[in-house]
Amino acid sequence: MPYEILMPRLGWNMEEGTLIEWLKQDGDPVQSGDLVCTIEGDKATMEIESFETGTLLIPHASPALGTTIAVGTLLGYIVPEEERDTFDPDASPNADNPSSDSQTEDAPDQTVAIIGAEESSSLQKDERESPISPRARRVAKELDVDWRSIQGSGRSGRIVEADIRKAAEQQAPSDLAGHKAIPLQGLRQVIAERMTEATRTTAPVTLTTEVDATVLATVRAQWPEDQSVRPAYHDLLIKIVGTALDEHPALNTSWHDDHIIAHDHINIGLAVDTDRGLIVPVISNVPEKSIQEISSESSHLIQAAQSDSLSLTQLQDGTFTITNLGMYDIDVFTPILNLPQCAILGVGRTIPKVTVIDEGTATTGIRKMMVLSLTFDHRLVDGAPAARFLQRIKQLIETPAAIN
């Protein structure tokens, strides 16, 4: 391989040089160590020595003397003896290019952002009269205080945190005075959203009827002792409502977007008041269960609701809801629909009242009376079918032998 004589880089940042003169001529023999040419660099003039032994061949395209050329430009070749006959300096690909493919490979530009970039300030450039410390600005934002007209107590009138806090206390409107802001989160937030949606999207109507629960109370009181647990009123009601829904399937439906779903099963949810809020565990397949089964299940569910250990499945797939405020002396109320269900039954208190037993004989007596409040969604069902459903519940309560 012939050795290429290139314009050398003499100084660290030399980029061009001048070929001053050839000290050997084209075709001259050259020994290792001989000086072959003189180069002028940016700082000094130097004679270049050959490391190789051979013949100097200068191609026709080699730069003329005195011209300024780039570092790496081909000047000539030192051709070893054995290749002298076969090598043609002008035929070589490099002969046509004034600068040969330079081996100078620059290091890739890998500038690394090594210095940790410090977080840039988020300070907005507001126009302001008094200067304000960054901390005060932050606190003002947190407390929603307009600091622009505040008098600063800091040096040179700077508004400081203390000024903001003072202003926040004074700025508080009177209807908020003494009130404590409780952030909305968790169950409360869910309930809030649900209730709002119900009121917004449904067409609720509430029907009420007064029911004579005397016989039901007797049935309950006389529940056989050998049963494990005496059912609560709500267990009897669940069973009654389940039976009524079975006969009036139009009330066992749900609204979904643009169509109505008629449910195969009757799953009744019982609203339970817990210290976290209202929770509605569901007893599924009510018509297929006995009162004892319902009773056992409901007491477990209520306990689990109180201790916040209900599973998700126990809260799902309800088709109807019963809610009872009777224990708080409420007679009549307008329960909000438990979306997406068609209807919800509100149960008021059972209270002994003087009622007319027989109008003909003007007989009155004391009966245990209670009011049922049924809210239904008029989008799914009309007033008359809903009323008939409620009427059936009344019947079943007043003649409980029909159930079970």
Partner: protein, 325 residues
């Protein structure tokens, strides 16, 4: 808990380490038979002999370079400068060789070297025996710089230095050497880069270095009597520097003062201020303040010496100014 002096605490750590590791040796002027000008190696010569307690001629560059080479060859040298001022003769060795050796060798050479000596202004030692210079060393990549303010931290930080494979400057303020304090028995280490909150408070954060911790705590007592609550932080090492603890404190208090005996320009306070401004900007209720020793060589006369270094009264005034911002 027993109370021992700062120097006794480090001597305990050193003696225990030398008993376990035969490659640890100490080099310096007077640290051999004499046991060190400040008793830093008291009693060790009789135990370990002249190769391990090596008295040197006065040639700091020479023995710094020698210890650098010894560390490269696998030993664990401790250079005891007596006064840190003397280290300056060896700056070339320290910065071009000691600091760079691990990096240049791509981690194949280690540099387990401790450079210890006393720093600080006091006792009219004058300008060649009062230097600290630790901001310079904290600036250089490759160094750790420890600055204990009490005997317990001194022992713990020295232990960490003894185990470290990096070069560590161990700066002992001359006014603290005979200071007594509670020091746990047995081996324990205080990690580098972990500041100590030496007093909790809510109204301002004061970062203090070395002996300034004491003056600052005294000032804090004065303010406590006025119902003002100050948080005092001792960084304990300035390289690495625990700015996170300072940021947490400023988040709480909104105000920051750094008290440091060394010169103000380009100092540790400047570094802390820059970092807190960058990373805790929205927590600042006032500009960050610095209280430093005067930017002058240290004069001799007690009247002059007193004028150029922070003390309890000037610290109190600086805190008042900060609170008024």
């Amino acid at each position: 808990m027993r109370e021992i002096t700062f120097t006794e605490a480090t001597l305990e750590a050193l003696s225990d380490a030398m008993a376990e590791d035969p490659s640890i040796f100490v080099v310096g002027e007077g640290i051999g038979e004499r046991g060190g000008n400040f008793k830093t190696t008291l009693g060790l010569y009789d135990k370990y002999g002249p190769m391990r307690l090596c008295d040197t001629p006065i040639c700091e560059r020479g023995f710094i370079g020698m210890c650098t080479g010894a560390a490269m060859a696998g030993a664990r040298p401790i250079v005891d400068f007596m006064f840190m001022d003397f280290i300056l003769d060896g700056m070339g060795e320290l910065i071009n060789q000691t600091a760079k050796m691990q990096y240049m060798s791509n981690g194949r050479l280690r540099m387990p070297m401790i450079l210890r000596g006393c720093i600080g202004i006091g006792n009219s030692a004058a300008t060649h025996h009062s230097g600290s210079y630790y901001p310079i060393f904290a600036h250089i990549p490759g160094f750790h710089v420890a600055l204990p303010s009490n005997p317990a931290d001194a022992k713990g930080l020295f232990t960490t230095a003894l185990k470290s494979d990096d070069p560590v400057f161990f700066m002992e303020h001359k006014l603290l050497l005979n200071h007594k304090g509670p020091v746990p028995e047995g081996e324990y280490a205080v990690p580098f880069g972990q500041a100590a909150v030496v007093r909790e408070g809510t109204d301002a954060t004061i970062v203090a270095l070395s002996v300034m911790v004491y003056h600052t705590l005294e000032a804090a007592e004065t303010f406590a009597g006025e119902g003002i609550s100050l948080e005092v932080i001792d960084p304990r090492t300035v390289a690495p520097l625990d700015v996170d603890t300072i940021l947490q404190s400023v988040h709480k208090t909104g105000r920051l003062l750094i008290v440091d005996e060394t010169f103000m320009p380009c100092g540790i306070g400047a570094e802390i201020a820059a970092q807190v401004t960058a990373r805790g900007f929205d927590d600042l209720d006032a500009p960050i303040a610095r209280l430093n020793g005067a930017h002058v060589p240290t004069p001799y006369s007690p009247a002059l010496e007193h004028a150029i270094v922070p003390n309890k009264d000037t610290i109190i005034q600086a805190i008042r100014d900060l609170l008024a911002e």
